[in-house]
Subunit: 132 residues, 2 copies
DNA sequence: ATAGACCCTGACACCAGTGTCAGGGTCAAC
DNA sequence: GTTGACCCTGACACTGGTGTCAGGGTCTAT
């Protein structure tokens, strides 16, 4: 099948399919006219790529084990677990950081609300301007 | 003071100080030789900028109310609350997404571990398959 | 007067995948 | 034989703060 058809079948844009190819994730043969020709199996390959991208892996990381998981069960691909582990650590780090920011933000919001309850509307109205 | 001194006092790189200026966050005067000359108050300004950047605000967003919070209490600056609110929503969205990814990742890791425990290669227990 | 520390502007690189445009080729149907 | 759908490559933009380099000016102490 040609690239447009694969794009429709997978919901991935033509642009992205070409990008995946440039990253070594999928290698269609070329017809005499230069068009990419994909095997029907390419649909599964692209779905697999989508799955890993949704797990937060990069195309480069996926390239390291994609051909293994397409052939075998994931559990047989030694590269996968360490990658998952480090990715999980990274995500936990980000979660922690975001949570921290969220707490700070909520704290400041609560503090502003408290302060506004204490002050009269006219104090708010005459709040000054400008100045560096 | 000159830019290098301000950088040392605040722990912010010279590069970043120039960037903040380009974003309209701080406006040092210029000496005859073209050097930036910062008032001692600039230290506080930069600390304030750091604080807001750490809350996940962008320099553009900070530019919208920095004037005001430097002059008044934060609670008097009308621009701040809506910004905090939308930023909080955004962070909650990201937290949700990351949490989802984390769950999927953990699910797949558990599935791999299960499969490896039954590690007779021909034992095709269909325990964990395709988390999407 | 010269070394060395400090300052200036401008510009590219980075992350990473996707959109989009330009400029041009191929193919099938009518 | 022309129209229109589809394909090709190459390249820029975007997000946004920071590092870093190039190429050059200024200041101070020796």
């Amino acid at each position: 099948m040609k690239i447009g058809e694969l794009a429709k079948l997978t919901g991935v844009s033509v642009r992205s399919l070409r990008y995946y190819e440039s990253q070594g994730l999928i290698s269609p043969v070329r017809l005499a006219n230069g068009y990419r020709e994909y095997s029907p199996l390419a649909v599964e390959t692209v779905e697999t790529i989508k799955l890993y991208l949704n797990l937060g892996l990069t195309t480069e990381e996926i390239a390291g084990f994609l051909h293994c998981v397409l052939k075998n069960k994931e559990a047989f691909c030694a590269e996968v677990m360490p990658l998952y582990e480090s990715k999980l650590k990274e995500i936990e780090r980000q979660l922690h950081q975001l949570t921290q920011i969220k707490l700070n933000l909520e704290e400041r919001m609560a503090s502003i609300r408290r302060e506004r309850e204490l002050s009269g509307a006219e104090t708010l109205a005459k709040a000054g301007e400008e100045g560096f």
